[in-house]
Symmetry: C4
């Protein structure tokens, strides 16, 4: 098989499970149709990531047909699923993992409302508190880029580096999100479509009320540091 | 455990069941995504309420992880679920229970169409009879308020006190609804999104026909007093 | 029990089953929320109809809690479900059955897009062939009318009598549809929302292309007489 | 029974299975309501195709009630399902199979957003990369045509012949898609509604950014030749 240590083999197996399972969330939230969209996750403790195969139905995804790649996006031979082609967006995912070491998961969708903003090359303004919480400001637009080489990955990294937002609208294309792990990136994809839809509808009805920058800052800070359950050992 | 009387213990257990179960309605009616939104219910006969934990998946909600609070919003120690943080909107719920004694349930969502109205700070006009039935007039807008202290609670109470509507659109934020019990507040949340959507779509197509005030009054009166099943002992 | 003949008792039982079951279609097609909307069916061979109880959850509908009424809308005592109140729209259904003897079923919803047209008092123009097939022209608007007496029923009958359409948009209110039986009226309610949505969206994007009247006539005639399966004994 | 060779009998049985099953995808993606819409598939190795019966509920579709026709659209007598009428669009499907020998499947829907474009007679511009991938340019509009004779079929063939798009919006009517097999045509129907919705929403918000023609060409070429899994024996 492979020269991976037992620890890395366990990490790979867990990552395969997680990536296969998280794809169900894309279906549940109606972010994808047919075989579109994909999720990847970095294997903790290794220069590897796991990604969806190309053009395979969401009904047929399972841990064993997820595909293991190195950080150049090359499939690791003789591992489960390796006989299939990985997602056609694999080069973009790999570029993100190589250049943003804090990123543990990447998600790509053509979710409807977000892609509508992308077709106009228009960033989503931060006019609802849930968006300030989650993204800390507007969701930015990245460049138009052709699929298949590094150009999408470069556009994602150039747009998101140093930005609070974990989501970018790639012009005329769709959404890429990043996260500390794959679940976090999936959450960003879900919230991107949710705010894209809400702000689209709001804008249809008339002028939007901006949220003052200091309120956006306060909301983002609180949500990143206080919301949800604290890790064990943190006193409330 | 606690110094609660057996009667209060039974009331707490029933309220935990009800609050956990009612969250399923928020999912069914697509009023929430991911871990957003929350429901609370006052414990009948006690200065207590039960609320959803913060940042926990809707798939994982159960009676035993609902959180018991006093009317200051403090978690009651050594009760089921107390090791978790309650909803980050707990202070707002507590403020409502302290100030509106007739309120038995509170619901908060970022449901799409209602939040779109909120992002414009625009009240929903009463142009459909179902809205006159349920809310007796427009759904009003409350102030922009920061999450985490009393300011949201104060905004809800100041807007709804003396108003027929059980729903308020908090500017740039989302919906809070109140009810005689939690189910009633959930119904108000469901109907708020339903009328927010219908009136949004109606307005897109051209001028709306207002409903005369006396007809609104008659519809509201009938629905509050005649609609549905009468309690046992009331002759038809 | 009752003085109904065995034949009528069988017809009542079948009608209860049908009315209870058809309510599931309103949920499936998302035409109703909470306890809104209602279906009734005339009992074949009797001056009776069966209707949904008022304010009861769709999860709790069953043949034995459907309510049997005479054509004045009065509940028949000592029949299953009679201890509950019938739908608050019962008077309107009864008026239709008294005045349109060919009608075997009536459906009422506040389905979203249709109600949006109703809030503007605007008929839905016949610009898609499926609408010509089903309704033979525009879906008309009936008057604003208060719930609870004959005024809704009068508005429905005055608008639909002699009209090809089996659906009417009651101004500021919602949809009433009629049919040769309850299933046919449910189909009309489903198709009303479908065309209300499609034509709403079409109109948002720019001018609509009208369908020539002779083409509407030909489509309506073909659909009413040729579409679907012929009764046994009709040669193809 | 019939004079079909054993090979053709097997091919017919497989085609019946496939056509019955694929109709579930139309329901899953909400492209159809009630009994609307239909799928057909050419029987490989025979001048035959299999199509949905007319006016039958999607819940009741099964391989044995699919209807076998020759390429003139005549039902083959004494085959399973032959006692029912085939889809009222059978003549259009037959015309396509007679005139486009490379087509193995045809799908027809009145899916909402696509039909909205059709009601304006407006082609869907190619402003998102998924549309360039799948259709290689805009989705064109075919003529207004009456149901029941060859005129719809002629309109489909005249519009799609030599066009990259596998989908056509028939004016005031709905969508027809073709594919190398029925699954491919279903995918085209799913993607048509997806891009119709996204581009509709994008256009509501302001001017769209066009995709340069050479980028459309490159995307279409890559997707048709590289995307997805290669047949066995093709080296990656």
């Amino acid at each position: 098989m492979n020269a991976f240590t037992p620890e890395v083999q366990v990490a790979i197996a867990r990552t395969r499970d997680e990536v296969a399972r998280l794809h169900e969330e894309l279906v549940r939230y109606e972010l994808v149709v047919w075989t579109g969209g994909n999720i990847s996750a970095r294997v903790p403790g290794a220069d590897l990531f796991v990604i969806k195969p190309s053009g395979v139905s969401y009904d047929d995804l399972a841990p064993e047909n997820m595909i293991l790649c190195d950080l150049e996006g090359s499939v690791i031979p003789n591992t489960p699923g390796w006989e299939r082609s990985p997602s056609s967006d694999t080069a973009a995912h790999a570029y993100v993992y190589r250049n943003l070491p804090e990123v543990g998961g990447v998600v790509h969708t053509h979710s409807t409302y977000a892609t509508a903003w992308a077709a106009r090359g228009e960033e989503i303004p931060c006019v609802i508190t849930a968006m300030a919480d989650e993204f800390g400001g507007p969701i930015p637009v990245g460049p138009f880029a052709i699929i298949g080489d590094d150009s999408i990955g470069r556009g994602i990294v150039a747009t998101l580096e140093g930005h609070r937002s974990r989501a970018v609208l790639m012009q005329n294309h769709g959404v890429f999100t990043i996260g500390k792990d794959a679940k976090d990136a999936v959450k960003a994809a879900v919230m991107t479509e949710d705010v894209a839809r809400t702000v689209h509808l709001a804008k249809q009805g008339g002028p939007l009320i901006p949220i003052p920058q200091d309120a956006i800052d306060a909301l983002f800070d609180r949500y990143q540091n206080v919301y949800g359950q604290q890790p064990a050992g943190v006193t409330k």
